[in-house]
Subunit: 150 residues, 4 copies
């Protein structure tokens, strides 16, 4: 019996695996945990993540903030929809270094087709953590067909 | 005779080379051109730049937007200062695919220590270009010493 | 004969008048000009627009940036839709004073239901103008019925 | 004996009064409470706060978000400095109506001269509250002299 469109949600198992492919796999991202409206990821800091001053490049941090919020959103939508990032804003609070980065994202508001999220990125070294960036993101839930047309 | 601090600007030759190292080298970024207050970069789109729907990951686009605006800012500051990204906001206008991405950044306002920039990212395929994202960025010009302390 | 839904656009006459009511009328906003995808407004600077340091309050500038972009968006949508602001980001480039403020807004991308706009706000004194703020805004075009339900 | 510059902080009494003048007084803003790094304000919703669809104008909400974050920042800086808004980003979560708006702002990171804040704006009607907007803001702490020059 076919599933009714729009009724089922993505499974945690699928999302944790789906979050790591293409660019995020290339960046070394791993899925840590998820619950409805929340997602956590990590990246072990390597030399190829750094910028000209020896800190983690803002692009790595922003990629985590965006991607993790996207998957926090995926936990709330039916399987015939996908999430696209409409826009986001990110503040960098201090230069990032350490052993790894952890990003914790949550959906703070779910509208009919727009989800608003927040992501906090922490640098972790020897058990101490510092918030290095915070982002506020607008996601759109769109039908799979509409994305394929583009 | 030593240079006076704060008088000289970074040379174009240095900046075009300096922009490609660490994470941006890992992402395949190349410097295309620069003039005072402007910088242009490119990335040839590869499979490891994509996300789950087969489009270029927003993180690649955001990395270009941020980094290119940073180097547009570097063209305007003395050699004893460096640029740090305070924050930015980016809108994704359409899914990105094609042969390569080009980012064109410019400084739209230079204050005493804050520079405001805009970056436009285009996807280019068979000679046609589409703007896929636009960002507005706030950069801080800070002394090299202050960065090293962090 | 009834108009087909979604076919007609708002008339310039209607929009220029509609833009000035409620809070914007209270703020002294006037419509200056419009063309498809663009709108221009002005506010004569009065004492009640200022903040604690004697400059125009950022809230006045942001109200103009948002409202003018909203009406630039209204020029492109059918009469059975209205514009709601999803979000925006605004940079304040310098403290604002002078005779009046002028805001020039334009739509830089029109998607199926999302419009991305830019607004520039200038302070004008004795014929000289300075850009005091720039904003990037995300607008949603939604049916009138959906707004009334809220 | 003169106070040492940069040592004393603004008094709660002064800030609560200082927050209401010029444009914010014109908008009907009142100071509700403050503690270090936090500030709360309210506006009783009147007809002149509305926009064309009968909801509170986004400009009123943004003015509160910005101003309240500004005064949350003022609680943390010495008396020879003032706060200027560098930029902010605000998401509007739902149309706002009701009896009054309340804005709760807090400083989430204080750097040497940059403070990052968050503001949440709630509409309150018959004791129920809904978050109608959330903003993330970048403030600069600058010397009074530097502002006067501008």
């Amino acid at each position: 019996m076919p599933k009714k469109p729009g009724k089922n949600k993505y499974s945690p198992h699928f999302l944790k695996r789906d979050a790591v492919q293409g660019f995020t796999e290339y960046c070394g991202l791993t899925s840590v945990s998820m619950e409805p409206g929340r997602f956590v990821t990590r990246i072990k800091i390597e030399k190829h993540h750094l910028q000209q001053d020896g800190f983690v490049h803002a692009g790595v941090i922003a990629t985590m903030a965006d991607h993790t919020a996207g998957y926090a959103s995926f936990t709330l939508i039916p399987e015939d929809k996908v999430i696209l990032t409409v826009e986001y804003k990110i503040n960098f609070l201090r230069p990032a270094s350490g052993d790894f980065l952890e990003c914790r994202a949550k959906v703070i508001n779910q509208g009919k087709s727009i989800l608003v999220c927040e992501s906090e990125v922490y640098s972790i070294a020897e058990g101490n953590e510092d918030m290095v960036a915070k982002a506020m993101l607008t996601m759109a839930s769109v039908s799979k067909e509409r994305v394929r047309e583009k």
